[in-house]
Symmetry: C2
């Protein structure tokens, strides 16, 4: 992609109401745009990051045997009345059609998933089974939080698992925890992300959240200093020692929730009469679990934990591009033509080898402006072609996370980047 053609541009400053760091950096870098409070557009760079995150989640969900589907945003009122959540779910967006029928904009999908699964799950042979989707969700939040952290409209991966019994659910639940940590590792936030006990368990005593420690987090967690299990502020008063290892030493930290998982048990099977026939021919309600990851939240958490004063430092697997190729003008016309030519050539070569490259080919920008943009956007590698590199028949490479740049021979460029791509 040529930066001169990029739809979005970096911004010098953004509105003062955007207090959170992730929103500041994502807006300034041209990753997202705010349509209104809690509702954002993903711009080309942000969309690329979103797709990378989506693909990581998809791969790890498939790896534990979950099948992808896509359920609608519009739900019929009746389904939500059946579970009582038409009344009790307090951030439900409701609307009425011209046909006078009432609808819900799905904030979660148990009310659609369970009646759907009832059409295909009949006996023990059909269990366990797990399906997931990556879909827009809607919540009528009065207080929207900074940037992508809590919005009225947001993208979620929601996974639903169905089991013959509690034991089978627990086995799968453990698998999901492992899969989530794989996802967070690939997204570069695992080191700061903690499995956290929280309220809201229906069948089990507690639910689990995945909380990423960061200064702008809206939650407060207590991390066991011995085993790393964390406890959410909400339930900490009731818990004196770590339920996992017994230690009493905790460290307090602000954190933001990037995922949550619930053992639902039969909470949603019962209202929809979702049963299966056991091997012995008896009828039993299906035991369920549900598991969410907010993709925007995850992106926000990645930014909150991967940046410096100059801008974002995207982890390799979620970066919009691998390489930010930059030509620097010298001010001398003939040399600038040579630099431009070398830039074009390098861009073509890298593209041919299928590396993902953002090419800053903008002629009017000064070296300083280009460097500032590159640091803000945060692509993992900056490759510079300048009067200096031409002289030395070399190319300058700087890792975004490193302090210093290095010169390498032009001929080793491809080999250098092959280290970083599978």
């Amino acid at each position: 992609m040529r930066q001169s053609k990029l739809f979005s541009k970096t911004l010098k400053e953004v509105s003062q109401e955007e207090k959170s760091l992730n929103a500041q950096l994502l807006l300034r870098g041209g990753f997202i745009d705010k349509l209104m409070g809690g509702v954002y557009t993903f711009l080309p760079l942000g969309f690329l990051v979103l797709k990378k995150i989506e693909e990581i989640i998809r791969e790890e969900m498939r790896a534990i045997g979950a099948q992808e589907i896509l359920m609608p945003v519009l739900h019929p009122k009746e389904n939500w009345q059946k579970t009582g959540r038409w009344q009790s779910f307090n951030v439900l967006f409701k609307l009425k059609g011209k046909d006078k029928k009432e609808y819900v904009l799905g904030p979660t999908h148990e009310e659609v998933l369970v009646p759907l699964a009832k059409k295909f799950v009949f006996t023990w042979k059909d269990l366990p089974v797990a399906v997931f989707q990556i879909q827009d969700k809607f919540r009528d939040e009065l207080r929207v939080k900074g940037g992508l952290l809590r919005g009225k409209e947001f993208i979620m991966k929601d996974l639903y698992s169905m089991h013959p019994d509690q034991k089978n659910l627990e086995q799968f639940y453990k698998k999901v925890i492992k899969a989530y940590f794989k996802i967070f590792k690939r997204c570069g936030i695992k080191e700061k992300t903690y499995l956290t006990l929280a309220s809201g368990g229906t069948f089990s005593r507690y639910s689990h959240e995945f909380q990423t420690v960061c200064p702008f987090g809206e939650d407060l967690i207590y991390i066991c200093q011995k085993c790393n299990l964390a406890i959410n502020r909400d339930i900490k008063p009731k818990i004196k020692k770590c339920p996992n290892c017994g230690s009493k030493k905790f460290k307090k930290g602000k954190a933001t929730e990037v995922g949550n998982i619930f053992q639902l048990g039969t909470k949603y099977s019962l209202p929809f009469d979702f049963k299966f026939k056991t091997r012995e021919g008896r009828e039993k309600p299906v035991v369920m679990g549900c598991y969410g990851i907010g993709l925007g939240r995850l992106m926000a958490a990645i930014v909150e934990t991967n940046h410096d004063a100059q801008g974002i430092i995207w982890p390799l697997e979620v970066a919009p591009f691998l390489i930010h190729l930059i030509t620097l003008k010298s001010g001398k016309k003939k040399i600038d033509q040579k630099i431009q030519k070398e830039g074009e050539k390098t861009y073509q070569v890298l593209q041919k080898k299928r590396f993902e490259v953002l090419y800053d080919d903008r002629k009017e920008k000064s070296p300083g402006e280009k460097f500032v943009d590159a640091d803000l956007i945060g692509i993992p590698f900056r490759v510079v072609i300048s009067e200096n590199t031409l002289k030395k028949n070399s190319i300058e490479i700087k890792k975004r996370s490193a302090k210093k740049a290095q010169l390498i021979k032009k001929s080793s460029l491809i080999r250098f980047f092959h280290q970083y791509v599978k």
Copy 2:
């Protein structure tokens, strides 16, 4: 994917209200499920087809230089008041939040795109530029049409282009027509899809639709027998001879719209005061085009034009899988064990070579039941392992579109399929 683990199942029959062929076949094959009138879930098989279609569209949009973004579903009322469509757009879904603010569920995105583009487009240097998204759309249709053809909620690719003048728009408009035919070719419906003159042009006299001829089409088009340009029923009374070649011979045909393209001119630039500075320093409104493809509609049109009495015949590029591997039981225990073992081995080998395989490993199903399901689901190649093939040390391959099967040596299996995958 093992068919024994597949979340969805084929159905013997579906509700009588589903009159359209595409809905009948997609529902029976387990591709989609109906949540309510005009609102469908994509099940695992349907989701795979949807992703294939999405990827084809994405590739062809990128090939003409369009950049992908993702705009929200929730729009503020004010934007729709500005264009007058808060009142005039008659299938608008409106809703009110707890904050008493009113919102629109986006049926199209000019009202979001133009104010967004205004933040990044300032001078002639920033033009032309084109952005697209693949996103859920909502229309409060009172009469929903068969299956995926016209719904309250549907997935669309919408592309918006911005230009300095009408001539530049027309150049891009022609590029889009070519790109659309590439998409329809890859989706297997090009032969039956016609560029069609329709009403609704704002800047130009007419707009263009892409209409696919099929028996259940809700539109009527008149196809010029000389040059293949088609005319929509709506405007045919005004048109006596083909505006392209002058011929007066037309053939009538039922058709369904799979895409439409508009030269918007300055219709949406003006209300939002979306201007740019020309090379000469004058201010001029940006000239725009917009271009849609309904992904569900496209899937429906593919089914309507690619099937036989037994079921769907998916074109290669949009098929959920390339290969439907099937083991047939013989009724003799020892031989069945051998067949099962050979099936597993073949499945592993094909997967290792990265072919997309649905493996019908269901032990309780008869050969007849498996064949009926395979024909209904419509995967391009059926590969059978049976007592007969074991005896002959071979494998049976049948193209879904062919009448007869062929036996090939087991050792040539991989080579056979490498013909069909890049």
